[in-house]
């Protein structure tokens, strides 16, 4: 791949403006660059879970880090929302902007292979319990042949969870970490994680407290940042460890959010 390749992750967060992100993706593509767009969909997942009467639950690890409790009913909602609602809307929007997009999940072409842990420890009412029906996992392997072929042909891959486990069952994975894993596996030049904040904040309640650079600790939970941002920093660390040289966490709520991030807005993670 000789064209500049950027992996962009967008939320998730309903505050993030997906029309503006799509317009910016199309702009990059039209000037000859390649983009892989990774998306979450927490807003749509919440909306659909509510409509279908599936409770949204959270697993809190003994160290206080929390994650979505993806029981079988919630896994169904996650896949419906990401593959059946968020992704078609993004693909249609990119198409309308002249950027020929192809929507994919980690199931397609065996792209994202995950390990599902048979049990995870969680805090429930102050007690540590084992949860065995959590269909969340971590990415164990990435196949890039499908993406590389699409990029060569000029398509914009639009990728989301789920991944597929060793028993060929869907497994929910964190979309920020999907973006990081794809950046590494594709040897992409840049990873941009868009979020509903200007960047990594020293004080979560103060948008002026942004770090322009943030050195993520080499292991363990990143200190002094709240849940969602901690996971983005874990993803950023995984990208850096995999040899990615440019990792930015930037504001997804502004016009031209990717171009701004690439021009220096947001937080550079090192």
């Amino acid at each position: 791949m000789t064209r500049l390749l950027t992996v962009v992750k967008c939320g998730g967060n309903p505050a993030v403006d997906s029309r503006g992100i799509c317009a910016d993706v199309a702009r990059l593509v039209h000037r000859g660059e390649s983009v892989v767009l990774v998306h979450g969909g927490s807003g749509e997942i919440a909306r659909l879970a509510g409509k279908l009467g599936v409770p949204q639950r959270t697993l809190v690890a003994p160290d206080g880090v929390s994650a979505r409790y993806t029981d079988p009913a919630m896994l169904e909602v996650v896949v419906l929302a990401l593959a059946g609602a968020v992704k078609p809307a993004i693909v249609a929007a990119l198409s309308g902007l002249g950027a020929p997009a192809v929507g994919l999940t980690g199931l397609d072409g065996g792209m994202l292979r995950a390990r599902r842990k048979p049990a995870v420890r969680a805090m429930v009412d102050g007690r540590t319990v084992l949860v065995r029906d959590n269909h969340g996992g971590q990415i164990a392997a990435v196949r890039t042949d499908l993406l590389e072929g699409l990029l060569r042909s000029g398509f914009v891959p639009v990728v989301s969870p789920p991944a597929i486990n060793e028993h060929d069952q869907p497994v929910n994975v964190n979309a920020d970490r999907v973006a990081a894993a794809l950046t590494v596996a594709l040897g992409a030049d840049r990873l941009v994680l868009l979020t509903g904040a200007p960047g990594v904040l020293a004080d979560a309640g103060d948008e002026t407290s942004m770090h322009s650079t943030y050195a993520v600790p080499p292991a363990g939970a990143p200190g002094s940042v709240a849940g969602g941002m901690a996971l983005k920093l874990v993803a950023a660390r995984e990208a850096l460890a995999g040899g990615v040289t440019s990792v930015r966490i930037a504001d997804g709520r502004v016009p031209e959010p990717i171009s701004r991030a690439l021009a220096g807005a947001g937080t550079t993670v090192t």
Partner: protein, 54 residues
């Protein structure tokens, strides 16, 4: 009270204990899972590499 499957020490279980709760055996320091209630049955808890953010 219930017996530890590793060291056979007695492990005290609170009345409000719940299924799949993890308790530590004071004798051998192993982590045990409550796999049945009334009567309580304990099993060695699986070792799990903790990795959040999934």
């Amino acid at each position: 009270m219930s017996d530890c499957p590793q060291c056979t020490d007695e492990v005290s279980i609170s009345d409000s204990a719940r299924l799949n709760e993890i308790v530590e055996c004071a004798g051998c320091r192993n982590e045990l899972e409550i796999v049945a209630l009334s009567p309580t049955v304990l099993a060695l808890a699986p070792e799990i590499e903790e990795d959040w953010g999934e």
